[in-house]
Amino acid sequence: MKLDDNDFVLFGLPERFAIDRADLDARWRRLQASAHPDRFAADGAAAQRLAMQWSVRINEAYRRLREPLARGAYLCELRGAPIAAHSNTAMPGDFLMQQMAWREALDDADSDADLAVLDVEVRAAEADLLAQLAALLDDQSTPALAAERVRALMFIQRFRAALAERIDALQD
């Protein structure tokens, strides 16, 4: 086991998009139980430093494996299709049209109900894209197509953050 082993190896999981969340959580807790600095509190500075490195690495891998978007992007990268979100911004026209429509709907929304309707629609689109991503990565092994879905999901994630902010502002 090395610090630079990939996340799946570290967690003893197959390199697949589909993941059992409860199993992942249990693995994370077991790994932390063996590596957390608290386990070495009485063992001197060198052991503390080492434990800190491992514990940080385990948390990093867990964060990536836990979030579907991050996990999908990571798998694309492992399979030779990096997301390159900054240099590759070309998106299909109809996807961009839909984004603009959502932004307008968000600007016009002035009630909890309006936002809830939008929220349902965006969640459904996200779930659909995630299902496509799972199929492209696990069944069809087409990382370049999968990377496109990841880029689309990144747009949706940003939009959902803006939407959540509006919902928060109305609820406080």
Partner: protein, 619 residues
């Protein structure tokens, strides 16, 4: 096996078979120390049987001080020299202290952290807190008849930012305590409750203390306490209820409290009235002011109407944390109330209503935090059975860096599990730029001006390149105490700069060393004696750790490697008998260096074993 017989004949191999480790709740209004004794975690009382030490320090003539109840009793008579609720000043500049104009102190507005002028000179909040901690340390030493406490776990509000945590750790060091860990108060409370009730599932801890409010969601699974999300307000607590009531009472009879004495007196009376209203439907707020006696009747309904905005403020924060965690109240299996302010009936019913279930209150809300900290301290000191509990905490506020136009680029998101590290690449924006100024901030807002500034430092010596060609990797590292270290490195040239984020006003290590030298924490001994004692404790600690590591995983070593480590241990023990603290430090360092590869191999084995029986094939 040889390694079990390496001690000198006639000498116990384990002078401290059991290390005394304590948990300390350093609270706004009162503080406690607890420890595990005979397998049970309990608060340690003073010689008069009192567990609670009021967090009050009075500076007397001739450099003497009164700490606790005696100081508290004098607060109205000697307000300028009696510091109470100092926790609200920790890591704060004067402008950041809400309502400071109403506090009866002579403040010194120093950059970063405010200080107070007393008859014994200028005192920083760190020094005042250190007095309280030193008193508790003394109490623990007396209770165990020990001349050295192995270490302490100190609790802080989950919502404390980096500056406040750093100030707390400095205070503990100043008080001569070895800080095993800073842990969050709600987490400590959950430990006490979780172990007591053998619970599993998602719990909410609602902690309303004297000066701070925290709400944390924790998931308990087989001894692992995982903080899912946390929120709160570092300046909202029982003190605010007191001051609302005090202001109302003065207004009701058209009186004013102008002097420091009067302001303190009316606050003390308000607190007493508030406490009376927990049991009674009405009471009278009364005290002596310069202009004559003050006496105002108040009903519980009046008090509750007056303070409803404060309770509502906590409820908004609770809802926000639930949303943050993408959870609803129905996911929560139990609600734990912590902090003396949760005794107020209005708080209990509001929290019960929000969660749709009555809160758990079977542990003493004043003691539960210290008790949980003691359980964790005992474990960290290596006294508990291995692997009994594990705390996985989070950072309460996002950490980021200032970018162009005064905007914040978030690097570590709030509610990230600690320890954590995250890196982000930046570049230069001018041709030939050879330096980059980095400004580290903490907070959730997009504008730097709305966040808290933690530190500034510079990366210099970048080779001149065209704008955008340099690749500067900024790494944020947050340790298990929740404290931040930032480093920056230009990837192509390897130029580096790093900073441990000590708030700009924080005490530098040199300051602490100086204060220790001046005998702040131990008036009775000089620096050399202290250095020797510390070196010996370190040596002892390191030898014990190495020995238990060898006992557990000695089979990872070849005979030669084993013998080399044995020899280093013997050296360390032999040198620790002598009086040269530098030689002892050097031996400890050599032992640490000589066991580094062994430590790495042990860690590797531990991680492999963690997932043993959970291999890929079995899924």
């Amino acid at each position: 096996m040889a390694l079990l017989q390496i001690s000198e004949p006639g000498q116990s191999p384990d002078p401290h078979t059991r290390r005394v480790a304590v948990g300390i709740d350093l609270g706004t209004t009162h503080s406690l120390v607890a420890a595990v004794r005979n397998g049970v975690a309990e608060c340690l009382p003073d010689d008069r049987g009192r567990a609670i030490l009021p967090s009050a320090v009075r500076y007397l003539e001739g450099g003497r001080r009164a700490i606790g109840a005696d100081a508290l009793a004098a607060q109205a008579d000697d307000p300028l020299n009696t510091v109470v609720s100092v926790k609200r000043l920790m890591g704060r500049a004067l402008a950041e202290v809400a309502g400071h104009a109403k506090l009866p102190y002579r403040f010194l507005d120093r950059p970063g952290m405010v200080a107070i002028e007393t008859r014994d000179g200028v005192k920083t909040p760190v020094e005042v807190s250190a007095e309280i901690l030193a008193a508790l340390r003394q109490r623990a030493e007396d209770s165990f008849d020990a001349d050295e406490i192995f270490g302490a776990v100190i609790t802080v509000p989950a919502y404390f930012d980096d500056a406040q945590r750093q100030a707390t750790k400095d205070a503990a060091r100043l008080a001569g305590l070895n800080v095993l860990r800073l842990i969050n108060e709600p987490t400590a409370a959950a430990v006490a409750y979780g172990l007591d009730n053998a619970s599993e599932g998602l719990y909410a801890v609602y902690d309303l203390g004297g000066g701070t409010f925290d709400i944390s969601l924790l998931r308990l699974t087989q001894g692992v306490f995982e903080v899912v999300a946390t929120g709160g307000d570092a300046a909202l607590g029982g003190d605010d209820f007191d001051s609302r009531l005090a202001e109302w009472a003065l207004a009701a009879v058209a009186r004013a409290a102008d002097s420091a004495h009067d302001r303190r007196a009316v606050l003390v009376a308000a607190r007493a009235a508030k406490e009376a209203l927990t049991g009674a439907g009405d009471t009278t707020l009364s005290c002596q002011l310069a202009t004559g006696p003050l006496s105002v009747g108040v009903t519980r309904a009046q008090f509750e109407a007056l303070t409803k905005p404060l309770v509502d403020k906590t409820l908004v924060l609770v809802k926000r944390v639930l949303r943050d965690a993408r959870l609803t109240r129905d996911d929560v299996q139990g609600v734990v109330l912590v902090g003396g302010s949760t005794r107020m009936p209005a708080v209990r019913s509001a929290v019960g209503e929000l969660f749709g279930r009555p809160p758990l209150t079977n542990l003493n809300p004043d003691e539960v935090v210290a008790v949980g900290a003691a359980i964790q301290a005992n474990q960290l000191a290596g006294n508990a059975a291995d692997g009994e509990i594990l705390l996985l905490d989070v950072i309460p506020l996002s950490l980021g860096i200032e970018t162009m136009g005064g905007l914040v680029e978030r690097i570590v998101e709030r509610n990230s599990t600690i320890p954590t590290a995250k890196a982000q690449d930046f570049t230069t924006y001018q041709d030939g730029q050879t330096a980059l100024a980095l400004h580290v901030v903490q907070g959730e807002r997009d504008l730097v001006a709305d966040c808290r500034s933690l530190a500034r430092f510079e990366l210099r010596g970048i080779p001149p390149m065209v704008a955008g060609a340099a690749r500067i990797r900024v790494t944020f590292e947050v340790d298990a105490d929740g404290l931040l270290k930032v480093s920056a490195r230009e990837v192509n040239s390897g130029v580096e700069a790093a900073i441990t984020v000590k708030p700009s006003y924080g005490l530098a290590d040199d300051d602490i060393a100086r204060m220790l030298r001046e005998g702040f924490a131990r008036a009775d001994d000089d620096a050399a004696v202290r250095a020797l004692r510390e070196a010996r404790v370190d040596a002892d600690r390191m030898v014990l750790a190495t020995r238990s590591a060898l006992a557990a995983d000695g089979d990872l070593l070849s005979q030669t490697e084993h013998r080399a480590i044995d020899a280093l241990m013997l050296d360390t023990q032999r040198i620790a008998q002598g009086d040269d603290h530098r030689a002892i430090d050097a031996a400890v360092k050599a032992l640490a260096a000589g066991t580094e590869a062994f430590a790495a191999a042990r860690m590797n084995r531990g991680i492999r074993q963690a997932l043993a029986g959970r291999s890929v094939e079995e899924i």
